[in-house]
């Protein structure tokens, strides 16, 4: 059958397979999304009027939005690269000869399945002004830090994120590493390539597809760390960890639909941009590989 013929015939079948998903997905995601974008251009009164970019102008001028956006960028910008480096490093170590490899792997992945609410208590005990972390630090003569109420909260949120998600990425990287044929390294060794050279020209190159997926998952998961901060620090945490999600939640609570939808639309725009960029990079890289 010609490709065109298959395309036509498949389309009907595809429609049937997609139907349940499309209906629900439109109802609960696409239409709400479109409504959100629509609201972001309207003013607040009941018989609403188109106000163009007014909401956006107001939003960008708002100090708490600036703070939230900056913090979110900072958090994702720092935590995702750190996560990449850390999980790749651990995966490479785990890929070496170690004892109890499968036990270790289990231990690294376990935090992933632990519900957030059930470890909040531990974070509180560790991070309080009178908490254990400060107790341990004081043994070594360090000053106390009020972890959740100073700029240190930033670091705490990143560490919690790493704790939770490092296992997921290790699994992905391990799989990627095991796909690289061993003789590539042997050949490289014979040709006199050092460890760094091997890492750069073999490991990194062949891990790129995995890397792409890991970055996407890391970004998604970086948004989920909000739950932790929310449960530890509430609606208004310390300034340094006040994220876009806090902002949106609070706009929701104060019924400021305009600011909320404008903020949401902008966030969608940014994420869209990042994803398209990643896709383009990946496609270009694939061509280069072939």
């Amino acid at each position: 059958m010609s490709i065109k013929g298959r395309l036509r015939k498949d389309a009907t079948v595809a429609g049937m397979f997609l139907l349940p998903s499309i209906i629900g997905f439109s109802l609960f995601y696409i239409i709400p999304f479109a409504m959100g974008v629509y609201y972001s251009f309207m003013d607040s009164s009941v018989n609403s009027q188109f106000v163009g970019l007014d909401n956006y102008r107001e939003l960008i001028a708002s100090e708490s939005f600036q703070k939230a956006a900056a913090n979110t960028f900072y958090f994702t910008g720092v935590s995702v690269p750190v996560m990449l480096a850390l999980s790749l490093g651990l995966a490479m170590l785990l890929n070496q000869n170690v004892y109890f490899r499968s036990w270790l792997r289990t231990a690294y992945v376990l935090p992933l399945v632990v519900p957030v609410a059930s470890v909040i208590l531990i974070w509180q005990i560790l991070l309080d002004w009178n908490g254990s972390l400060n107790a341990w630090l004081s043994i070594f003569g360090f000053e106390r830090v009020d972890w959740m109420k100073t700029d240190a909260a930033r670091t705490v949120v990143i560490v919690v994120y790493l704790w939770k998600n490092v296992g997921y990425n290790i699994i992905l990287f391990l799989a990627g590493l095991q796909q690289i044929p061993k003789d590539y390294y042997e050949t490289a060794q014979i040709e006199g390539a050092g460890r760094f050279r091997q890492f750069g020209s073999i490991t990194l190159v062949y891990l790129t597809p995995t890397m792409f997926f890991v970055i996407i998952m890391s970004i998604i998961n970086s948004f989920k760390v909000f739950r932790e901060t929310y449960l530890i620090a509430g609606d208004y945490p310390h300034d340094s960890i006040y994220m876009l999600q806090h902002y949106m939640n609070n706009m929701f609570m104060s019924l400021d639909v305009q600011k909320l939808t404008a903020a949401a639309t902008m966030m969608v725009g940014c994420i869209l941009l990042i994803v398209i960029l990643l896709f383009m990079l990946e496609r270009r890289f694939r061509q280069f590989m072939e």
Binding site: V13, P20, A107, V113, S118, L121, I122, N130, V275
Partner: protein, 292 residues
Amino acid sequence: MKSTRVLQKLALTVVMTVIAVLLLFPLVITFTNSFMTEREIGINYKQIGQINEVTAGNRNSFVNLKLVPDVISLEQYGKILVSNSIFLVMFWRSVFLVVPIIAGQTLVAALAAYAFSKLQFRGREVLFLVYLLTMLMPFQVTLVPNYIMADRLGLLNSSNAIILPGIFAAFGVFMLRQFMLPIPYSYIEAAKLDGAGHLRIFSTIIFPMIKPGLAALIILLFVDYWNMVEQPLIFLDDPFKQPLSVYLSNINQGERGVAFAASMLYMTPMVLLFLYAETYFIEGIQLSGIKG
């Protein structure tokens, strides 16, 4: 030569074990502390949340984090399970939210993933990109529109306001598509020659072949939805409809005594499921990632 290699292996193992112990530390504390008596918990942790000025100069004001209880007791578990039945009610409420989401999303997503991976149609790539994008968005982005939608559909304050969006979330489609992509099209062609329709091919060939993917998806969804906090808080006004996740984040602030035991019971299903199905879980995550 050989002994240095063994030494290296040993050193590496020690380093990796130390990291593992650090990662598991919170879980171990929760476990051991859940067997302490109310009195001991009270004494150990009473300093939490005290005003900084009072304790600033005091070297002995720290909490007393203990790994081993003075007396091993089941007092806290008894309290939650026997004298305070709300925990069990909430536990089942969580189950009744999570199970329909998992069952629904797995089925709906498997069907859609088949179309996205094995059928040709116009706009496939664009539509899939739309799915992918919603998956990337934090929950707050669709909050207001979703709220309005739930209101129009009469779903507010009903668990359907949480279950239905859960069923149609894009994650399952994405994940299962990744699993179906590497299956060669020749399987489908061969089945077609034997006279099988697509529904038949899907249910008897593709579906059984992606079992590891289904297992992984089920676990990942379980982990995610067992945990949800924002959705129930916003869509369910009624405090008596809240799942365990919300209830637990409340008791963490109040009764610290039972919180450890409650946390333990709350995480146990997840941990057991993970340990039981770890191979599937890991295989699932790996396969979905490699073919990115």
